[in-house]
Symmetry: C2
Subunit: 674 residues, 2 copies
């Protein structure tokens, strides 16, 4: 046995029960293709095991031994379990720039040398890092395992390697690495589920626990979902009487719209403050973006990072800008235009069919009435898929250095297209056809069907499928009750079969479109807020279920805010000001106030709209994005780090004259020298 | 003699020629009231001379001895010259957070301990700090000289002192300290003037030299003035044919307006980048705001600054917010309302008088025609003065901790009021009276008269007065030619008599209003840009003349950007989009395109306006505020400082085991310990 089991502290770390066959705490699973050349397997495992000095990842890796009562031919034999020693994880925590609470209550970048001064670090550092953090570190170390002398993957002369190229990414894109995922922790998952969604209760979600298990990005999503829901409750309450008493009075609609606009601005601004507080306590607010490692897919010639001075691939930012502005932007615009054309064709086809039906109403013409809608829905779905694929390809091709930048560009592209697809027809009905009754109808239909469909397709159907699969696995392993624990290898195989969670993108997109339905036409359909609240309450449960039961555990992703979505929601609320003002201006009641001159009406509406927009911007300017007490804490760390930098050279000079405290100290002294 | 002349290096520093009577390089002049109690004088000078350990400023101070051939009774005997040793200045440079170029080309916070590693630091550090920097440091040290045990100013039992209160500020507000100003450097001033304005030439201003002599804030003002002028040249060129060929075609006006709007956005965005480059090379971009010392006028109970951990007065930010939102904002709104009322009264009075004149035109009624304008001008002037006074009082009362924050709040207040006063009548003529001919006339009148008046009142009149005064002083001291050098004491007295420059506020305000004249109604008066360019070219010369010849030298002020003015100019360019779209929509040509429906015209105009606004925001979002190469440099210093912080505790532990390198080192170790 290669690994020293004592130093791993598996039992102390309370990670999944370790089977006798695995000599370390299993964290991450790597599944290689069944027919992988054994030479490549040997090379890969030895590169992963190698020490960092010799360019390896210094992790632990072991092949999963399958239980005897299974047909070994049927199952993939190339499944590997990856883990790491406690010390390696702590050093890795420094590499990924983890920010932890210091003994004095401030949040500081974790360093191995300084580990004893961090809060919650006891003894050897058991329980200091959560399992999600450990898995994130292992993932990071695997991703940054780079080719050195190899010209190709051993056993595969055609799969070439260049110095500095990420090995794992390379074999993943060539199909040798089928998948890589972190393991669930059955015990903790059970605890989390019972707190989170298993008991219907009136309480906030356990955000800290969600973050502990799934990482910051997902916790921020659930935090935003909850915040968004709470923020819509007042709107829903105010909207209810409009429905109950059938208020058709536009004065009241105006009041509702005004409340809506102010409220959405305040809600988005205060969310920024709330998320800053969350991110600060999770240590991601002060995590520096520029020091992120380049994303594994990033390619370029090996050079020196001008910020860190470390060797890594570099790629000209001018080239990237050219690709964005000369290719991606025109492509997106073209797609938007095409989508608009399709919509216009749809509306004219519908008009044509309606005309035909009105002329000679027969059974066939009444059937024909549905044809345009069906074709339109199918075409939209096809376009959506093609566009999504193209957007991913283009964003990949733009070659962004950081994962966050890649995500932002992809999100923006998909967002704009989805916005148009969802709302263009509503805009057409509202402003071209000016048919408020039809608008209300379409809005309600879209809102309700998309909600029901989404939650069904997204959570309950997969949950049911997964449950069936679970049962099958349990039956096969000879255990009938799904409550009984599976043997480790069976559990790994079960998780390997689960679907992969593709990130928060689609969840946010859903909320974004919902926000659009609620705010864009709020003054003609006040009930939308109530429907949205109901949707979000069930969304919390279905999303929680989906995360805990349906999908493989995702790798935790550090995040300080909801990123480009904040901008998207804010833009939506600006557009909502324009649409609501226009809708109110078009109402018959408003027109009756200005019987003589439509011009005056429009001027009044335009003025009110400008005042609102100005008000929104002033409000956004006046409310600070980060609460004051957190600003102070951040400034303090920054101040201290500036002071430390000033003294750095002095200390370096000093330490040359001294016997270094230990080997690590010398290494650090050398790499911080100017 | 107390001071050791050798250590001062006066001759090396090339500062004003030192008279035999003063034992150190004179930097700053403090003028106390003639009848100051001698006890107070003794106390003050000893506090200023005291070492820092015992709470003094550790500066050098000496009474100015007046020449014999003057009547000692006529001149104030309480004029003091303040200077400092070279070492004291270097330590002070660290206190004020000066950022200097490091040996590796990056900009870093200067530290005394690390002085040898900064570029341009040779030998004992002669010429390392510019005279303006030295004067800034002396000013800062005087300002932060705080009362300790004293309960009152000696000799003045009624002027009470509290621990932590700024002594200099106290005696200044009580009239004991009449003024404090830095001395001019005749030699350097002569060199600067010849490069800057004495030879009419086609070249850029010597911004680095201006910064060297006057500090960053002023240099940024002149940089902005130049940039603004250059940016308007294309506008002026395009606007010229409209005037020359008498183009009255609105198609062409639309083209001009479109160019104008896009141009002003681009120009403001690129200025941000340019000013970031300037500020980076001057070391003010990375200077941290939160670590600024509180402004001398700031009062509060002595507490601990939560950022730096240092003792200083603190004041609840909630209280300040309440004062701002419950008192200042309503007051400003009230004043704006009053100003609008006055304008309405003026317009109705003018209408009344015009009616009277039209009924029975006599000599008296034609005289009466001028009365409303005259009264209005006088009332506006009075209101402006009262408002300015009130704004200063209110902002003072808001008790801002930082000078920059005080300035921003004052600027915003005065700005809004001035904007209304200047443009309200133009808006009224444009949109209520819809009289384009009158608008063009008023615009031209306002623009030209304000330019001529401003430059005359602001620069040439004071210059002429100052010249007369100079001659008188020269005559009195027995020297006839004004080119001959005055004796040192005469020179000090001459400068003490010069007017005080009150900051860049009025200069920026002038540019801001000019920008308003050019952009708000650009589509009815394209010639405005040309007039503005001509104005700015002369403005450069008159402002330069004013700074070098008319005013006392101002204390240098570090600044990284033009602050709230950037926002003001950007807001103006947003308002310009709205006004220009509205003006074009109101034009007869446009109306002739939509002969049937005015409604449609307005809708088209409103749509175009929204597209423009969206375009502006997208452009502002897409263009990064700081050029990439400077972003990288900043990130590198930040990265290194984070790395240094991580290692800090380790080094501190280390240095305890070692013999400290010198006394300073131990002091720093202690204060950076956690």
């Amino acid at each position: 046995m290669l690994f020293n089991k004592i130093s791993l502290g598996g039992a102390d770390m309370k990670f999944p029960s370790i089977p006798d066959k695995t000599p370390f705490t299993p964290l991450v699973v790597m599944e290689l293709a069944e027919d992988t050349n054994e030479e490549a397997v040997t090379w890969l495992t030895s590169r992963i095991k190698d020490t960092q000095q010799s360019g390896g990842a210094e992790l632990m890796i072991d092949r999963l031994t399958l239980d005897d009562n299974q047909d070994p031919k049927k199952e993939n034999q190339n499944i590997f379990i990856v883990g790491a020693s406690r010390e390696r994880l702590l050093v890795g925590a420094e590499d990924v720039g983890l920010v932890k609470e210091f003994n004095d209550g401030s949040m500081r970048g974790f360093t191995y040398a300084n580990r004893e001064n961090f809060k919650g670090f006891q003894g050897d550092g058991d329980n200091f890092l959560s399992m999600a953090e450990c898995q994130f570190i292992v993932k990071h170390e695997l991703d940054t395992l780079r080719a050195r002398g190899e010209t190709h993957v051993p056993g595969y002369p055609k799969i070439r390697l260049y110095p500095g190229k990420s090995v794992v990414r390379r074999i993943q894109s060539k199909g040798i690495l089928v998948q890589i995922f972190p393991l669930h922790d059955k015990e903790e998952l059970k605890r989390l589920s019972s707190m989170w969604y298993q008991n219907v209760q009136l309480s906030f979600q356990p955000l800290d626990d969600i973050r502990h298990y799934f990482g910051e990005s997902l916790a921020l999503y659930f935090g935003f979902l909850e915040y968004f829901t709470l923020a819509m409750v007042p709107m829903a309450l105010i909207g209810m009487p409009y429905y109950l008493f059938d208020w058709e009075d536009y004065d009241k609609y105006v009041l509702f719209a005004v409340f809506n606009l102010v409220w959405s601005t305040v809600f988005l601004e205060t969310w920024k403050r709330f998320s800053a507080s969350l991110a600060y306590s999770w240590g991601t607010l002060s995590r520096k973006k520029a020091f992120e490692e380049p994303r594994p897919g990033f390619h370029g010639v090996l050079g020196i990072n001008p910020v860190t001075g470390r060797q890594e691939p570099v790629y000209s930012s001018t080239k990237r800008q050219l690709r964005i502005y000369l290719v991606s932007v025109p492509f997106v615009l073209l797609c938007l235009y095409l989508s608009l054309c399709v919509m216009m064709v749809y509306f004219s086809a519908e008009g044509l069919v309606l005309g035909l039906h009105d002329e000679e109403p027969t059974f066939w013409t009444s059937l024909l009435l549905y044809v345009p809608s069906i074709i339109y829905a199918v075409v939209i779905e096809i376009m959506n898929r093609i566009y999504r694929y193209a957007a991913e390809f283009l964003t990949d091709w733009e070659n962004h250095r950081l994962e966050s930048s890649y995500q932002n560009h992809l999100t923006l592209k998909v967002l704009v297209f989805n916005f148009l697809n969802c709302f263009a027809s509503l805009f057409y009905i509202a402003f071209m056809m000016q048919d408020m009754q039809l608008l209300r109808q379409s809005l309600a239909t879209l809102l309700i069907t998309s909600q029901i469909l989404n939650q069904f397709v997204e959570a309950f159907l997969p949950f049911w499928l997964q449950k069936r699969r679970n049962k099958r696995v349990h039956r096969r392993s000879g255990k009938v009750s799904p409550d009984q624990e599976l043997p480790f290898d069976q559990q790994v195989m079960l998780e390997a079969d689960m679907s992969t969670y593709l990130g928060t993108f689609d969840d946010y997109l859903e909320l974004f479109l919902l926000f659009g339905y609620v705010s864009l036409f709020s003054c003609v359909y006040p009930l939308a807020a109530l429907l949205a609240v109901l949707n979000n309450v069930t969304e919390v449960y279905s999303d929680a279920l989906k995360m805990c039961r349906v999908f493989k555990r995702p790798f935790s992703e550090p995040g300080a805010d909801i990123g480009v979505w904040q901008l998207a929601f804010e833009s939506m609320s600006v557009i909502a000001v324009v649409t609501n003002c226009a809708l109110i201006g078009m109402s018959p009641q408003m027109k009756s106030y200005f019987p003589d001159s439509e011009t005056q009406l429009i001027l009044v509406v335009a003025t009110v709209e400008h005042v609102f927009l100005a008000f929104k911007f002033i409000l956004a300017f006046v409310i600070p994005d980060v609460p004051r007490h957190i600003q102070i804490k951040l400034a303090r760390v920054e101040f201290e780090s500036m002071e430390a930098l000033k003294k750095k050279v002095m200390y370096t000079v000093e330490s040359v004259n001294t016997e270094p405290v230990d080997k690590v100290a010398t290494r650090f002294t050398v790499c911080t020298q100017l």
